[in-house]
């Protein structure tokens, strides 16, 4: 089984115009990869299906907008992958 990072990177490459090789662990999904909100929703839909979870995008956005969490915590690829792994683990547990 590929890592969460690889599976998410594949989803982003398939869903958007970003070449797979440009998607690195330190890539910021919005600032570096240029994913807009509509493409990001498609990506989240694909992640939800791929991992059988419900990515809490609204809660994340609220945390970032209120200053409770830095955007990097959710929107840098390696951190996004870690959050997804946590959600999968929470579902399984």
């Amino acid at each position: 089984m590929a890592s969460a990072f690889d599976r998410i990177a594949e989803i982003i490459a398939e869903t958007s115009d970003v070449p797979r090789e440009n998607i690195k662990p330190e890539s910021h999904v919005i600032e570096d990869l240029g994913i807009d909100s509509l493409d990001f929703l498609d990506i989240v839909f694909a992640i939800d299906k791929e991992f059988g979870i419900k990515v809490p995008v609204e809660a994340w956005t609220q945390e970032v907008n209120s200053g409770a969490a830095p955007a990097e915590q959710y929107f840098v690829m390696q951190n996004l992958a870690a959050r997804i792994e946590e959600l999968v683990a929470a579902k399984g547990g």
Binding site: L41, V44, F45, K54, V57, E58
Partner: protein, 154 residues
Amino acid sequence: MRLEYFQMIDRVLELAPERITAEALVPAASPVFEGHFPGHPLVPGVLLVETMAQAGGFLLLSRLNLSRMAFLIGTGAVKLRSFVGPDTRLTVTATLVHEGSGFAVTDAAITAAGRKVAEVKEMKFSIQDFPAPELAEAMRGRAREVGLLKDQNS
């Protein structure tokens, strides 16, 4: 249907947690038919897509107990299988595919006389707070008109 007011759904026939069936009667006359097309009136395909989107929207509004609004933001594959003219009774179904955080996805289809005339896969909706109280009230009014609220506390 009141095509020129974008009121596509006339009444809800069946409502389940993940599926809605509704009825839409194409009017005998509408200004829309004067342009689309002269001498050969047809419901524009985009309005059939809108009809399916409104069925999906009502399903989502019901799931949200009308606390938030569903805005269409995209669709997957659309098939318009046959022409739809005036005075046609349409049955519109929408089925929940996925409910995410701040968005939802439905499939939908339209049949006439038991024959499928249109279908759409993966209509995506952004779920947002009502941006204006007038819109919230208008949607509650429409929900009552089409019978969406008959089994709920309105």
